[in-house]
Amino acid sequence: MMNKQLISRGLAFLILIVCTAAMISPIFFMISTSLKTKSEMLLFPPTWIPQSFQWENFKELFTNDEIKFGVLYQNSIIIAVLTVIGTVFSSAVVAYGFSRYRGKGRNLMFMLMISTMMLPYPAIMIPQFLLFSEMNWMDTFLPLIVPAFFGSAYQIFLLRQFFNTLPNELYDSGKIDGASELRMFRSIALPLSGPALATVAIFSFVWSWNDLLAPVLYLNSQEKFTLPIGMAAMISSKFRIAPWNLLMCAAIMAVIPVVALFAVAQKRFTEGIVLTGIK
């Protein structure tokens, strides 16, 4: 009995080691290529470790006038940060409303809200595009940022699940102290929701950071491009200005903020997932 368990655990361990190596190897390869010289990156079979580490590749990425990586980076950060602020704030307000008040038609509203989680963006993007171009918002960041201030269904759902776990007694004691409804939201619900809010912030940051389709529709001039469009342009045959090692540098630079966020918030993030249970 004991032996059988040990064998199965040993087997699991072995499988995990092999699969982890397979999963990690593309990342290893990405980092290694980013530090190679132009001639070394074209070698086949590829070298695992660069003969000499070309840290200048990263410098070149930012100083190259055609790529304008710094501008792309800045644009993406502006859009993502404003999206996060908008999403977290509005989603928290709406989720609180759904969790705390039993207004008439609540179930219907909630059903509608849930069903928009499944609404594919491509199905509604054409009228949205026409709407925003009517408002003269083309080639600005507004179409990418403003909708975030009206809440995101997925995040509202996640936060509502969290608010539902807060005991009613908290609000009762708030009421006795004469706190207004707005005040209870601000001073009772929000301070207790750290992990859930962090989860929402990370989700919306990553979503905005990686989004390609909407920026492609709305941004035309190169100085407005976000990282995803700029990077896509770097490998499209039209521009083809960047060699592979610089492309890998770009991919790494684009991933770093995401990794940093997860690293900082890992504990809270996992707590958030467990708490809301996504069920």
Partner: protein, 297 residues
Amino acid sequence: MKLSASGRENFYFYLFIMPWLIGFIIFALYPIAASLFYSFTDYDIISSPKFVGLANYQELFQDELFYKSIWVTFKYTIISVPLTLILSLIFAMLINQKIPAKGFFRTAMYFPSMVSGVSMSLLWFWIFNPQIGFFNYILSWFGVKPQLWFLDEHLALWALIIMSFWGMGAGMLIFLAALQGVPASLLEAAKLDGASRWSTFWNVTFPMISPIFLFQLIMAIIESFQVFTPAYVMTQGGPNYSTRFYVYHLYESAFKNFRLGYASAMAWLLLIAVLIITYIIMKTSNHYVYYEGGKES
């Protein structure tokens, strides 16, 4: 302002959900209705929309590229979604055992999920490079000849499917959290009753995590109906339309060929497809999804 108790509830409820309600009307309800309207018109942005009845739909059903885009999306979904889900569940279960370096495995398996979007496409475009790519190099260890991948119409979609497995870490993390929520007492009881591991999984573990499995399944299918980034970045739908995903076809029809009416018809069919699939999955899920504290009606 004096309000009755229920009046107060109504007032605050609608006050708090107001941002969503306004956004819902402007950014969801109106576009859904408007795209239905546009789908009955011929519209090229420059001149105003001309009503053409069902012509767009008729044309769609005679358009070979439309069928091709459905087939590509269907094939990708039917292979990538179930395999990715099952793999992520298997790895969650492997990591959930009493093994050393759990934290390391969890992080290492999850790490690739952070390389998403265009970064992922850049990386895999390089990995599948026909001349100097890493994938052909690994295959050469097993004596497999170098392949053309994104230049080969029979392999391009498969390359994207392989790439999609790489992102299974996100699902794994959620399953891991779900597995840790299965009460140890239930597993103990199954063990005491002499249940095999296989039957413990099917009768205890899976029912307990089935609502999360269902949620993941629906979201994964909807997401895979909307694949756009790899087609836009790497293949432009080629070679020979072998990676012309539905949404990529929609995008090109609307914003490259400026056939907004035609693309709106596609948008509506996408909406209907998502509705139908979600409905079917929800209906059939009653057989295997277990909700704690009774069935959800």
